[in-house]
Amino acid sequence: MASLIKTFLLTDLLKGLWTTFKNQKPSKVITEQYPLNRPPVAERYRGAPRLNTHPETSETLCISCNLCALACPEQLIVVTSERNPETKRKDLTTFTYDVSRCMFCGLCEDACPVDALELTQDFELATYTREGQIWDRQMLEEGPLPVRYTH
């Protein structure tokens, strides 16, 4: 009899509706208004690559060891260098990074012995052309320009 009354009074459905209603509070809104408010990403976030330079002399930290290019599963890093006859070291000439094929696994970052190559917190990587996805040394050192959306 009790169960019949419960069935008749729709208690099971009202319980669910009440749960739905409880979650309607405006204080509980968790939707991010993306282009207006950018979400903070984690410190370890693996985003756009960056080639670090020395903070004072702004010389590159890269020693052209080619380990990142060897570690990359997609083989999208190309490093070229030439031997400096005075210091007997390799000087970096070009560094190309194809972001369009990158899956941000972080293996290049792990392989770098001098913390020159790093995956940063930038995540807005859209471009109008495919060529724009291939980053040269200048782009990697300066980073992508901040995007401003107008509407």
Binding site: K15, N23, A42, R44, P73, G106
Partner: protein
């Protein structure tokens, strides 16, 4: 289409006489097929006489890619098979290579691995619950589930820098040490999850529409489960206490106290209850692992160049969807000679025809949802 996949002869003869048979394509763009699964339904009115699955729309040749990558380089690719449970995939692959190398993983790394895989199990089940309920027509759970899943993804992002395709583990242990608030965030999430599970039960478990749409639908009994090689929540819902975390403990699961939730009939409702209970058990494991998180190194003795001796290894783990196995053959070079994956989604999908026969078209949607497939893993 082969005639052998159709209904039993007596049903076939009947349908031939009045020829009401209708062949209907469901998918690959149908939203309730969870990706790009195409099911060819053979119908008599609303009754399903037989089904045929067409897969391969998401085939990327992951096993072949492995042959052209070094052992470390292939690790990010396994995340892209079952992308809902990327951490479990990474664990299985790393354990298989560690078995080839005969490397011991330090206890701290093992405990962190357990925490992350259990968090991933909860995230995977939350996604399943949301989409399964959405398929059946309950719209609220999907929003609530995604809200809670976000908390897990935030922990992943803080830990390893990626949310979905995490690449969290490395061969031999871990790459990243835990961060300052890691333990607290995990415990807070467990507290939150236990509250929220009550909400989900309020929304669905007693709901008469939910019960009528799931009870007695898609029954797969224990014998059939074993015949089809079905594992995971599906076999546990049929009453078989089979969980690889208990049956062949790995990664230190023998140290944690947890139960294997089971049910009796093996219908859609039972599988729902089993998965709901599994989330509670995962919270229990996470609490124990966080409380007893040992100090020490996070990476075993693995060189920079991984070159396993010639041989083969098979390792299977309990992924959220069932038994996930990695079979790796090494010929002593830098690249694996062959990698074969035993994906739980693919094997479980084999039982779809058995579960669908004789049911209604609307139930096919519920049955596909209850198997919990990820097409990235089915097609690989």
């Amino acid at each position: 289409m082969a005639e052998t996949t159709l209904a039993p002869p007596e049903v076939q003869a009947e349908t031939l006489l009045d020829s009401n048979e209708l062949v209907l394509n469901m998918g690959p763009q149908h939203p309730s097929t969870h990706g790009v699964l195409r099911v060819i339904l053979k119908l008599d009115g609303e009754t399903v006489l037989g089904t045929d699955c067409v897969i391969g729309y998401l085939h990327r040749g992951v096993e072949k890619i492995a042959e052209n990558r070094t052992f470390q380089q292939f690790a990010p690719y396994v995340d892209r098979m079952d992308y809902v449970a990327a951490v479990s995939n990474g664990l299985g692959y790393c354990m298989a290579v560690e078995k080839l190398l005969d490397v011991e993983v330090p206890p701290r790394a093992q405990a962190v691995r357990v925490i992350l895989t259990e968090l991933n199990r909860i995230a995977s089940h939350l996604l399943w619950l949301g989409t399964h309920a959405l398929d059946i027509g309950a719209i609220t759970p999907v929003f609530l589930c995604f809200r809670e899943r976000e908390e897990v993804l935030k922990i992943f992002e803080n830990y390893c820098g990626a949310r979905l395709t995490t690449h969290a583990f490395r061969i031999g242990g871990l790459q990243y040490e835990t961060y300052d608030t890691f333990e607290k965030e995990c415990l807070d999430f467990c507290d939150l999850m236990e509250q929220k599970l009550k909400e989900y039960h309020d929304l669905l478990t007693g709901n008469r529409i939910w019960v009528r749409r799931t009870k007695g639908v898609g029954i797969l009994n224990a014998a059939d489960c074993k015949d089809y090689g079905v594992t995971g929540p599906l076999i546990r819902a049929a009453g078989v206490e089979w969980d690889l975390r208990k049956a062949q403990p790995y990664c230190g699961y023998e140290n944690y106290d947890f139960d294997i939730p089971t049910a009796k009939t093996g219908d859609t409702f039972d599988r729902y209850m089993v998965r709901m209970e599994e989330m509670v058990q995962s919270c229990r494991i996470i609490r124990q692992a966080v409380d007893a998180l040992p100090e020490g190194p996070i990476k075993g003795k693995v060189g920079k160049v991984i070159k396993p001796p010639p041989g083969e290894a098979y390792v299977s783990i309990e992924a959220p969807k069932g038994e996930l196995g990695y079979y790796i053959v090494s010929d002593g070079s830098l690249n694996p000679y062959r990698v074969r994956v035993r994906p739980p989604s693919f094997v479980n999908l084999g039982a779809l025809d058995k579960m669908c026969r004789g049911s209604l078209v609307a139930d096919v949607v519920a049955i596909i949802g209850t198997i919990d497939i990820v097409l990235g893993e089915v097609d690989r």
